[in-house]
């Protein structure tokens, strides 16, 4: 059992004072008399009269639930303002933020949760996106009078073999692989600190193991991928979980690729490579051509670190069920299925949609096949690739996974706008997917860790509420409960 640091939610507003908001609240400076009535009436903390100040602060539009929800109510700010100085309206460009998978509401609700640790105001969707299929058309069916639940357990067991260390995380997720170079060191530190605070884990990705992570070694999953960048005996021996990456959902069957611009001297040193060159991780492992080779691979890592759990990350081909069985016989503890709609620092657009099946279809296929083989309860099935929200996680578990691996949502917590420019020139303009020295300080590690920590706090509130309404005591009881789901079919 991994000890968690004391948990506490602290507000972590963004360094920027204005995010992209659904509603725009404006106070006309010439008309406002600073009476402070708006701050007294609006129940959503949009207005604030700071103690000791005589002027009303700039309104916090991100808290506003929209005038159509307040009109006619006694607290409606516009009606209460004695000088008619308040304008509240929709932001005409709000819907232009984001995309089908991450519509504006999912992005801003994630920002809200990351700032406050609480659920977003009503009217902002925080559970499903607009993609018209998969998780976005899958709904829970709540029993009319659920079994009363005394205490909800959101934990996840990461080893179900009869041997090896017992590891239990208090929340059913851990952090996805993101390599040093594809994201900044500050972002890595943010993620690993949040993982430690929650008593869970976070993967290094294939970019080596920066020294700054060593104090968090008990929470670091180290990845062994085809390029073997920065993989050393020491980094394997330090890790409680070693992840072998065969394929990545966002580019199944293609190798990894770090563009030359992002390969700074420091990145190159940690990867043990030449700086300012493009770094390729080929596909597949050039030493693995069969399940027998795969077993040798697992045995090799186990002999280097007998105390580590071995996780195998694969994509979702036609025969994903057979791949799962092969991995089981090779002796893995955790099988991580990575579906196609997941995040990436850079991948050919063609690979993101067209190769390998979406995770929603792969989870039940594998879960049921392993059940049929009588080996389901010895292997931990983790799902990843396009899981954006607390509800996506719960749905994946209901489809048959034990837990999930989260990447993109953690970046959105750090202000990612999903603009897709991670690979361009200097990299991310928000200091996330970049190693540019001018951009990196935009996300200080303390701030980042708090944001991610807060997001999972809000997610946990949603999980507890959900399990309670379903009348279930733990996620273990939710696994494979198809009877609790309703699927509407994709919109074609």
């Amino acid at each position: 059992m991994v000890e968690a640091e004391p948990l506490r939610v602290v507000s972590a507003p963004s360094y920027i004072w204005r995010t992209v908001n659904k509603y725009a609240v404006e106070i006309l400076p010439d008309a406002c008399i600073d009476c402070g009535i708006c701050a007294q009436v609006c129940p959503y903390d949009v207005y604030e009269m700071k103690p000791g100040l005589v002027h009303i602060s700039a309104p916090k539009s991100s808290n506003c639930i929209g005038p159509h929800n307040c009109e006619g109510q006694s607290f409606f700010c516009v009606d209460n303002c004695p000088t008619d100085a308040i304008r509240v309206g929709e932001n005409a460009y709000y819907e232009d933020l984001g995309d089908d998978r991450w519509p504006a509401d999912l992005i801003t609700s994630t920002w809200y949760m990351s700032e406050t640790g609480q659920l977003p105001p009503p009217g902002i969707e925080s559970r499903i996106g607009d993609s018209g299929g998969g998780f976005d058309r899958l709904h829970f069916v709540f029993p009319e009078d659920p079994e009363p639940v005394e205490e909800v357990d959101t934990s996840l067991d990461l080893n179900r073999r009869p041997w090896g260390p017992r590891i239990r995380t208090p929340i059913p997720i851990y952090g996805a692989a993101m390599s040093y170079g594809s994201v900044s060191l500050n972002v890595m530190l943010s993620r690993i600190r949040a993982a430690k605070a929650w008593g869970t884990f976070c993967s290094t990705g294939e970019g080596g193991y920066p020294e700054a992570l060593i104090p968090y070694a008990d929470h670091v999953i180290t990845q062994v991928a085809t390029g073997l960048f920065g993989v050393s005996e020491a980094s394997i021996q330090r890790a409680p979980i070693v992840e072998i990456k065969y394929a990545q959902g966002a580019k199944p069957g293609l190798g990894g690729h770090l563009l030359a611009d992002k390969n700074t001297p420091d990145v190159a040193r940690i990867r043990e490579a030449v700086e300012k060159t493009s770094l390729f991780s080929p596909f597949p492992f050039h030493s693995v051509y069969s399940v027998e080779d795969h077993k040798k691979h697992v045995d090799w890592l186990r002999s280097v670190n007998p105390d580590a759990l071995i996780s195998v990350k694969v994509s979702t081909p036609v025969d994903v069920d057979m791949v799962a069985v092969g991995s089981y016989y090779a002796g893995t503890n955790i099988l991580n299925l990575d579906g196609g709609y997941g995040g990436t620092g850079a991948a050919p657009d063609i690979a993101k949609k067209n190769i390998a099946m979406p995770i929603e279809f792969a989870i039940p296929k594998v879960h049921r096949f392993l059940e049929g083989e009588g080996i389901r309860d010895e292997i931990v099935l983790m799902a990843s690739g396009g899981l954006r929200t607390a509800y996506d996680v719960a749905k994946a578990i209901a489809l048959g996974a034990d837990g999930c691996v989260i990447g993109t949502a953690e970046l959105v917590a750090l202000n990612c706008t999903r603009c897709g420019n991670c690979e361009r020139g200097r990299g991310c303009q928000h200091g996330i997917a970049t190693t540019d020295p001018e951009l990196v300080p935009l996300i200080p590690a303390d701030f980042g860790a708090q944001r991610i920590y807060n997001m999972y706090h809000a997610w946990r509130l949603q999980w507890v509420d959900l399990l309670t309404r379903l009348g279930l005591e733990s996620f273990r009881d939710l696994r494979g409960r198809y009877d609790l789901l309703r699927y509407e079919g994709a919109i074609l």
Binding site: W17, T19, N91, A92, Y93, D96, D99, R101, S131, G133, Y246, A247, P252, G253, L254, P282, P284, F285, Y289, D293, S315, P317, V318, G340, Y341, G342, T344, A346, A347, P348, D349, I350, K352, K353, I355, A356, M357, E360, P364, G386, T408, N415, R418, C419, G420, N421, E423, R424, R426, C428, Q429, H430, A433, Y482, L485, R486, Y487, G489, A490, L492
Partner: protein, 444 residues
């Protein structure tokens, strides 16, 4: 000795007036503080040259939509929206993502790469409802490095006899090998007059352009003249040609056989509309010795003729199955056209059963068409620029084909045709998925 096939690529920028993705809106209350000048890494916001106290109009075309300036403007007057021109791009088969990707490919000749994962709908009709397989551990490589096998994208067009005979002195049927599994169809009404350009692009690529016989002016050996139904065959046009296409309508089949009789050295294509209920007619033609069946769907990939039309992909798949059962599939080459537009459509059409595909709207988009029936082509189009745009697109398409084949572990494009087991259809996956839930079909 292996000779590497390479398509020469070179930057071919879009015309300046090409639609842009974003519009940058700066409200009237801007205080000209200059914060956005430093916030934007792409030089969208600049001070006026004449008066550095004032902001110049934003350079929309450089904006990548990151929202950084929006977040930093101290008075909150900036907004980033989708540009109206971008919204004017066509729909359905020619949705913005398809069109803009072809534009990018035509400009750079390279595989479009971006960050942040997939952004679109879960599934869309047409080729989008198919996923290709991948293999976790085996992969040939395009370069044959590490002792791997090379990947070849070449395919053959022509009749493939089931066995060879030595008794009579019948010559071996002619075969046309093309280095990429696509040909260029005639440009149609929108591209009227572009025929010489299309012929040059085909020659550049080593593939062939099918052109209406009346438009052929002896351009080069990479043109396949097409005779319309009832059209008198102009034999001069066939001098130097290696293949010919005849429309099956009316007396087309008789013309087809007459040409084959006179010119057994030509690979002859018979052109027929795609409709599954015509499968027996196709089978008859194959039994009668047709070399290449060119089956065309409408520009959106729908069958032509029946009241309830289906999309080209499932039709090709079912037709492949039918021809296999009839024992005819391996004798004929199936060339499929219509609705095959984006790079990823090419491998998917092959997996469904085509040996090669014919492209038309793709290169019109590469030349600047926005996929909208109201939209036209920029004019004038310089031939050199146009040829470069098409060859750039072709290179990007081929590179993506290599990626898909590599991921599948298939090293020869000839082996793609009809590999249905390596394609996943949304319809099938969803049916299986739906059955998991009580009540099965959860629609409504």
């Amino acid at each position: 000795m292996y000779e590497r096939y390479e398509i020469p690529i070179q930057l071919a920028s879009p015309p300046k007036e090409a639609p842009r993705r974003f519009q940058v809106i700066r409200g009237e209350d801007c205080i000209h503080c200059g914060t956005c000048v430093t916030a934007c890494p792409y030089g969208v916001h600049l001070k006026q040259e004449a008066d550095a106290r004032l902001m110049a109009l934003p350079e929309d075309d450089l904006c990548v939509g990151c929202q950084r300036c929006v977040m930093e403007c101290p008075v909150g007057v900036l907004d980033i929206g989708v540009h109206p021109d971008f919204r004017a791009i066509g729909k359905g088969t020619f949705r913005p993502r398809v069109v803009t990707r072809i534009w990018d490919e035509a400009a750079s000749g390279r595989i479009p790469v971006s960050g942040a994962g997939y952004r679109g709908p879960f599934v869309q009709p047409g080729f989008d409802a198919i996923w290709t397989d991948m293999s976790e551990i085996v992969r040939p490589t395009r370069d044959g490095i590490h002792g791997r096998e090379y990947i070849s994208t070449a395919v053959d067009l022509g009749r493939k006899p089931p066995y060879l005979t030595w008794e009579d002195d019948e010559p071996f049927p002619p075969i046309l090998e093309i280095p990429v599994p696509f040909l260029l169809n005639p440009p149609g009404a929108i591209g009227r007059g572009l025929e010489p350009l299309v012929a040059r692009a085909a020659a550049e690529l080593g593939t062939y352009a099918i052109l209406e016989a009346s438009d052929v002016r002896g351009e080069n050996g990479h043109v396949i003249p097409r005779f319309a139904a009832e059209e008198e065959v102009d034999w001069d046009l066939l001098d130097g040609a290696r293949a010919v296409e005849v429309d099956d309508a009316g007396d087309g089949l008789a013309t087809y056989h007459a040409i084959k009789e006179a010119r057994p050295d030509l690979v002859a294509f018979l052109r027929m509309p795609l409709r599954f209920d015509a499968r027996e007619a196709y089978a008859d033609r194959i039994r009668a010795g047709v070399d290449v069946l060119h089956l065309y769907a409408d520009p959106h990939g729908r069958e032509i003729g029946p009241e309830e039309t289906r999309f080209i992909a499932p039709v090709l798949r079912d037709l492949d199955q039918y021809l296999v059962e009839e024992g005819l599939r391996d004798e004929v080459t199936i060339l499929a056209s219509g609705g095959v537009v984006a790079s990823e459509h090419v491998p998917k059409a092959l997996l469904c059963g085509a040996d090669a595909v014919g492209l038309d709207t793709t290169y019109l988009v590469a030349l600047g068409w926005n996929g909208n029936p109201e939209g036209g082509l920029p004019s004038p189009i310089r031939t050199q620029w146009g040829v470069q745009r098409i060859t750039n697109w072709a290179n990007a398409c081929r590179d993506q084909l290599l990626e898909i084949m590599g991921a599948m572990g298939i090293r020869d494009a000839r082996r793609m045709a009809g590999e249905i087991g390596r394609a996943m259809f949304h319809e099938d996956l969803e049916r299986e998925f739906m059955a998991l839930f009580p009540g099965g079909n959860g629609h409504g």
